[in-house]
Symmetry: C2
Subunit: 713 residues, 2 copies
C-alpha cells in the first residue's frame, strides 16, 4: 500500500525480504558474500538520507505547516480524518491505481456516499466533509450534484421551486447535474443549439436537440448516475430567441433508472483522467416539461408567454459567483502543485546517482544543479499560488461586503485579476506537475509514484471553468481598457493595473541593479515585472489600435489577429500580481509572528528564487527595451543559481511544511519516511497482474506457442 501511512509502512512493506540463503551451501554463500560486501560498502538506506535531510534543514516545518493549513488544530484534524478515511473500505487507497474504468466509477460513487453517511451519522461535520472529499481525492458521479445542481437551485430557483426540488436533492431522492456544454459548444454559451420552445396553448416548454452538435456533452454524473438535469437551452417564444436559460428536466425513470421517452443519454467514454466521473451525453427529442420547470428566480415567462427579463443586478451577481469559483481554483492549483512537488523533492532527496570514482558514495540527485533547477522553482511557485489563493479569497470577501451595500465597483478589477490568474495558476500547476514527474526519471512514470494520476486528473483545469486563453484575453481586455481610459484622461491609479495611469514615466525607467546581491530585493524584482507589464500593455494596445484602423475594436479580425500579444500581456500582468502578492504575504507573516522566523527566512529566499527564475528565463522581455542590461541579466542568473544552492538544504523542510499526509499523496516515492524502494516493490507485488505466478497470458496465449514445433522465421 504505497504511501498509505503507518499501515503501509508496516503490513505492506513487511514481505519484501528475500535474501534467505535457501538452497545455497555455505561455501557458495561465503563466495558470494565477498562480492556483496564490496557492493554494499557504498550503499545507504533512503530512510537514513531522509532523516539527515530533516536534521540539516535550517528550520522546523511545523509552524509553517500549521499556518498553511489553517491552524494547528485544523492540521491535526486533517491527520485524524486521513486515518478515519483510510480505515473505511471505500476510503482505503491501496488498490486505487489498479482499478478498471468500471471499478473506478463504482468505487468513486461508494466513496462519495460513504462521506455522505459520515455526515448523516454525525461522525464528521460538514466542514470535515469538504476536507474529506479532498483527502479521499476520488471524484465521482455526485460531483456536480453537490457542486452545481444544488447550488444552481439555491441561486436561480424561485422559492416555490426550491421548496419542490431542494429537499429531494439534499435527501438524495434525486440526483442532478448541470448540462450546459454541447458537442459543438463550450466557451461560446450564446451559441448553444439546444432549444426550449414555449407552447402557450399547453403552458409547457418543449426541449429539443435540433442537430448532432447540440448534443449535451461533458456534464459530470450525467452518463449513468443523474436522474435530473438543469439544462441550459435557448428559450424561444413565438419564434423569438431569448438566449440561454435554465430548465429542470427529469431524464431517467425513478423506478427503473431507464431514460425517459425522448431522452437519449449515456457516458462519453474514457478520459485522460477523472474516470470515476461518468461525464455524459444527452439529447432531447421533443421533450415536454411544465412551465414551472424553467428556473424563474430572475428571468420569468408568464403563462401567456410574456417574457420578463432578469434585473440588471443579476448579471453582476452571477459574475461574482464565477469570480468566487476562480479564486478557489487558484488556491487549488497551489495545492495540486504542492502535492507533486512534495513527491518529487522527497524522492530526489533519497535517490542517488553516479559516483565520480569507484568506492565513493553516489550523489543525491537533488545535489545536481539541474535537478534543483527543475524542482525548487516549482516549489516556489506552489507557495506563490497558495498565497495568491488566500489573497484572492480575501479580495472576494472584501467585495462581498461592498456588494451587500449594493456597491459593485471592485468587481471589474477582481474579475480581471482572477480570470487571468485562473489561467496562469492552472497552467503553472499543470506544467509543473508534469515537470516534477519527469524529474523523477523512470520511477515517475510508474502509477505507483502517484504522479501520473495527479497530472491526468488535474490538467483538465486548463480547459474547464473558462479556457485558459479566453481567461487571459478577458484580463487583457480589462488592461487595454484601463490604458485607453488613462490616455483619455479618465484613468485611475487604483488596483493591480495602476501602472496604466503613468506609462510615460514607467517606460523611461531603467533597472538600477549594480550587483548580483541587489537582485535579492523583492522591490527590485517587482519593479521589473511592473515595467514588463506596462511595456507590453502599451505595445498590445498600439497593435490593436493599428489593426482597428482608428478606435480600438475588441472583437472581430483586429482582436482575433492580435491574441498572442494580448495573452502575453495578461500573463505578464498576472506574474506581476503573483510576485507582489508573494512578497506582501511573506512581509505580513513576518509581522504577525505566528510562524517560526527561520521558516520565514527560508520563504524570503524562496520569494527571490521565484522572481529570479522567471526574470532569468524570460530575460528577453526585460532586455528588449533596455530596461535590463546584459550585465544585469547575467547577475540575475548568477543570483538565481545562488538561490538554488542556498535553498537546497531546506528543500525537504519546505515540502514538509505543506503538511500533506501519506494518505493523501498515496505515492511510493513521496513517502514521508523516504522508504521508496520497499514501497515500490510492495505495491508492485499487490498488482493484479501478479495474482498468479505464471500470469494471465500463459495458458491461452503463451503455452501453445512455446510448445509449437519449430519453424524457421
Amino acid at each position: 500500500m504505497p504511501g498509505a501511512g503507518k499501515e503501509a509502512g508496516g503490513e505492506g512493506l513487511r514481505d519484501v525480504q528475500y535474501l534467505s540463503s535457501s538452497q545455497a551451501d555455505d561455501r557458495i554463500q561465503d563466495l558470494v558474500k565477498k562480492s556483496s560486501d564490496i557492493v554494499l560498502a557504498t550503499h545507504i538506506e533512503p530512510r537514513d538520507d531522509m532523516l539527515e535531510e530533516r536534521r540539516r534543514a535550517s528550520f522546523n516545518a511545523s509552524s509553517l505547516a500549521a499556518y498553511l493549513n489553517g491552524g494547528k488544530e485544523k492540521l491535526q484534524r486533517l491527520e485524524e480524518l486521513a486515518d478515519l478515511l483510510h480505515a473505511q473500505s471505500w476510503g482505503n487507497k491501496s488498490r486505487r491505481y489498479y482499478l478498471s474504468r468500471r471499478e473506478t466509477y463504482e468505487d468513486a460513487l461508494k466513496a462519495a456516499l460513504g462521506i455522505w453517511d459520515l455526515i448523516r451519522n454525525r461522525t464528521i461535520t460538514m466542514e470535515d466533509a469538504m476536507e474529506a472529499r479532498k483527502l479521499v481525492d476520488f471524484p465521482g458521479g455526485l460531483e456536480l450534484h453537490i457542486g452545481m445542481f444544488i447550488p444552481t437551485l439555491l441561486s436561480q430557483a424561485s422559492p416555490d421551486q426550491q421548496a419542490e426540488w431542494l429537499p429531494k436533492a439534499l435527501g438524495l431522492k434525486l440526483i442532478g447535474t448541470y448540462a450546459q456544454t454541447e458537442l459543438g459548444h463550450g466557451t461560446f454559451v450564446r451559441g448553444l443549439q439546444t432549444t426550449a420552445t414555449y407552447d402557450p396553448d399547453t403552458q409547457q416548454f418543449i426541449l429539443h436537440t435540433p442537430t448532432l452538435t447540440a448534443t449535451k456533452w461533458w456534464p459530470g454524473g450525467l452518463g449513468k448516475t443523474s436522474t435530473h438535469v438543469v439544462a441550459m437551452a435557448r428559450l424561444f417564444i413565438r419564434g423569438k430567441d431569448y438566449g440561454p436559460h435554465a430548465f429542470v428536466v427529469p431524464i431517467r425513470d425513478m423506478a427503473s433508472h431507464l431514460p425517459l421517452p425522448g431522452i437519449r443519454v449515456g457516458d462519453i467514454g474514457p478520459k485522460f483522467g477523472y474516470n470515476g466521473v461518468d461525464n455524459g451525453f444527452l439529447s432531447f427529442n421533443h421533450v415536454v416539461v411544465p412551465r414551472d420547470n424553467m428556473l424563474m428566480r430572475f428571468a420569468k415567462v408568464t403563462p401567456e408567454g410574456e417574457y420578463k427579463p432578469p434585473p440588471p443586478s443579476n448579471a453582476k451577481a452571477s459574475y461574482a459567483t464565477m469570480v468566487y469559483v476562480r479564486a478557489t481554483i487558484v488556491e487549488g492549483a497551489g495545492w495540486a502543485l504542492a502535492r507533486s512537488v512534495t513527491i518529487a523533492v522527497r524522492y530526489a532527496a533519497v535517490r542517488r546517482q553516479t559516483a565520480a570514482h569507484a568506492g565513493e558514495r553516489e550523489l543525491q540527485v537533488l545535489d545536481y544543479q539541474n535537478t534543483a533547477a527543475d524542482l525548487l522553482p516549482l516549489l516556489a511557485q506552489a507557495y506563490a499560488l497558495l498565497f495568491m489563493g488566500k489573497s484572492g479569497m480575501d479580495m472576494y470577501k472584501e467585495f462581498e461586503m461592498d456588494r451587500d451595500q449594493g456597491n459593485f465597483n471592485k468587481l471589474p478589477e477582481l474579475h480581471a485579476v482572477l480570470s487571468g490568474m485562473k489561467s496562469v495558476s492552472t497552467t503553472l500547476a499543470s506544467d509543473g506537475m508534469e515537470a516534477a514527474r519527469r524529474a523523477c526519471g523512470g520511477h515517475g512514470y510508474s502509477m505507483l509514484s502517484g504522479l501520473p494520476t495527479l497530472f491526468t486528473h488535474y490538467v483538465q483545469n486548463v480547459t474547464w471553468e473558462g479556457d485558459n486563453n479566453v481567461m487571459l484575453l478577458q484580463t487583457a481586455r480589462y488592461l487595454v481598457k484601463r490604458l485607453l481610459a488613462a490616455q483619455s484622461g479618465k484613468g485611475s491609479p487604483g488596483g493591480s493595473a495602476g501602472y496604466t495611469a503613468n506609462v510615460d514615466t514607467e517606460l523611461k525607467q531603467r533597472c538600477f541593479v549594480r550587483s548580483p546581491r541587489d537582485w535579492l530585493d523583492p522591490a527590485v524584482q517587482s519593479a521589473a515585472f511592473r515595467h514588463r507589464a506596462t511595456r507590453l500593455c502599451v505595445a498590445a494596445t498600439q497593435a490593436l489600435a493599428d489593426a482597428s484602423g482608428g478606435d480600438v475594436v475588441f472583437e472581430g479580425h483586429p482582436w482575433n489577429s492580435n491574441t498572442v500579444d494580448l495573452i502575453r500581456l495578461a500573463r505578464a500582468h498576472c506574474l506581476l500580481v503573483l510576485h507582489s502578492t508573494f512578497a506582501d504575504s511573506v512581509a505580513q507573516l513576518a509581522a504577525e509572528g505566528s510562524v517560526d522566523s527561520l521558516a520565514i527566512a527560508a520563504l524570503s529566499k524562496l520569494l527571490s528564487l521565484f522572481g529570479l527564475s522567471f526574470i532569468a528565463r524570460e530575460a528577453g522581455d526585460f532586455l528588449e527595451d533596455g530596461y535590463l542590461s546584459g550585465q544585469q541579466v547575467d547577475w540575475a542568473r548568477k543570483q538565481y543559481y545562488k538561490c538554488l544552492a542556498v535553498l537546497r538544504p531546506d528543500a525537504v523542510a519546505l515540502v514538509d511544511a505543506f503538511g500533506l499526509t501519506d494518505y493523501q499523496l498515496n505515492s511510493a516515492l513521496g513517502r514521508k519516511d523516504g522508504d521508496v524502494y520497499r514501497a515500490l516493490l510492495a505495491a508492485a507485488q499487490a498488482s493484479p497482474l501478479n495474482e498468479t505466478e505464471e500470469g494471465p497470458a500463459w495458458d491461452s496465449i503463451l503455452k501453445p506457442r512455446l510448445n509449437k514445433p519449430t519453424s524457421k522465421l
Copy 2:
C-alpha cells in the same frame, strides 16, 4: 470505431441519427421547427469545412507525402497494410481505449504474435512487419525479445552461444528480455548492484541480488512473459570486481512458466502508459549458471577463472550501436509529434467557436492567432525532426562505411550530435504532443481523441535510452572539449561545432537584419543560432574553468554545479543543427525536383516559422550580448506572426502530407474526413459503461439509496 478508417466511417457512424419525431404531434413539431430553423441558419457541417480547407490549400499533399514515407509505392503499401491489419481480430483498434490493464497486456501479446504469423505464412515481408508494428501501435510483452534480446545475442554472444540460443529465440521456443536497470540504478551502469561471482571449483557463475535496490526493475516483458533474460551483473572473480557483464539466465520453467528456484519475478504494476508491456522486477537468490552463460564474444572468463578483457575496438562498436538507436529515436520523435499535430490541426480546422454578432457564422478556431501560434510551430518542429532523423541516419551510414575500414574518426561528432538530439527531439515531441492535446480543448481530454494515449505512451522517451539531461551533458562535454582544444591551438573547423575554432570573430558578430523581411533568409536565422551556441559555449567553459580553479574538470562539484548552463549550451547547439538541417533538406529537395514545387514553397515558409518562433520566444539569448537589437527582435516577432497568417491556409495540407492513415491515428478528432462529432458520439456509445442503459452502479449502489426514507442532511 473512432478513426478506424472506412469501416468506421460507415458502420460505426450509422446509428447516430435520433431526430425522429416519435411521440411529438404535428403542431408541436411545427412549433419546434421554427426554433430549429433559427438555430441551424448559422450551422455548418465539419465535413464541409474540411473539404474547403483542402480546396484552398496552395499545394497538393501527395508528392510530399510520398517523399516523407519513402516513395509512392511505400505509401500505397502502408495503406494496404492498414486495411489488412484492421481486418484482423487482433488488429482492430475499435476497443483499444476501453481495455483494462489485463486485457491490454493480453491483446498486445496477441497483436505481436499475429504479426509474427503474417510473416511466417508469407502474407507480409519482414520489412512490412516493421511498418505493421508501427501501424498496430500496440507495444507488448515481446518488444524486448525482438528489440534487445535477439540483437544482444547477435552482437555479444560467441558463435557457439549463438548456435545454442538464436534458433530457439527466433522460433519462439524461448522468450527473452534484457535486464540491466535496477530499482536503485538506471543511468549509472557502473553502479549496478547485482553480482555474478565466478566459482572456479564448479566453473559456474552465481548470480545474486545482495540488497533491495539491486532488484532488476523495468525490463519489458520480464514480468509475466519472458522465460530467459540477458542479465547485466557485476562480474567478481576471486574477490576482484570486473564491472558489468552480460549473462544469459533462464528464469521460468519451460513447462509450467513458474519461476525457477532462487528467482523472484513479477510485473512492476501500472504505468502512465505503455501498459501492454509487462515491465518486470527480478531478483536472484544465489542462482547458479554454467560458465558458458556469460556472453563471451568479447570479454571472456577461462575455466580457471582468468579474465580476458574485450578488445578496445569493442567499446567503440557498442558506442556505435547506441548512436544508431538514437538516430532512430530522432526520426521517431518526428513521427510521434506528426501524429498529434495531425489530429489537432484537423480538429482546429473544423471546430468553430464564437461569432461576434448574432446571425454570423462562428470562426474556425485555427483562425484565432493564438491557436495558430499553438499549433503551426509544432507542425514546423515535426518536419524539422523528420528531416533531422533522415540526416542522422545518413550520417550514421557514412560512419559505418568508414568503420568497415577501421576508421572511427567520425564517431565522437556523431555521438555528440545524436546524444543531444535524442534529448531535444524527445522533449520537443513530448511537450508538443501535450500542447497539441490542450489546443483541442475539452475534446482533447477524451481518450477517443487519441491524444492522451499518444502522449502517455511516448513521454517515457525523455527518460529511457539515456535520461535527457544526461544526454545533453554528453553533448556539452564534447563542445567544451572542442573549444578547449581550439584554445590550445589543437582546434579543428570541422563538424557541427566548427564554430569553436573561431569564437573571437564570432563573438564580435552582430545581426545585420534591417527589415522584417530580412528575417526570412534561412542564413540569417542560422547565423543567430550559431552565434548563440558560440556565446553559450564560451560562457559555460569559462564558468566551468572558474569552478575547477584552473584546468577544467569534467566531474565532481565543478561539473555538477554548472549543469544548468551546460545543458543550455547543448540545447542551443542542437537547435542550431536542427535548423540548418531543416534548411539544407529543403534546399536539397528543391534541387532534386521529386516534390511539387508549391509544396516546397510551403516548406520554406515552415522553415522560417520554425526559426522565428524560437528566436522570438528565446529572444533574451540573442539580446543579452547585443547580437540582436530590440528593434530586430520586434521585427522577428512581427515576421513570425506574418508566417502564422501565411501558413494558415496550408495547415491541413501540411498535415495531410505526413500521410498518416485514420487506422494509425485511431482518433475521433483526427479523422481525415473531418466528421469529428459523429465519430465522438459513435465511439462513446460503444463504451463499456453504456452496455446497459441503467449503468453498472444502479442495482447495487444507486437503487437502494434513491429509495431510502428521506433524512435531512
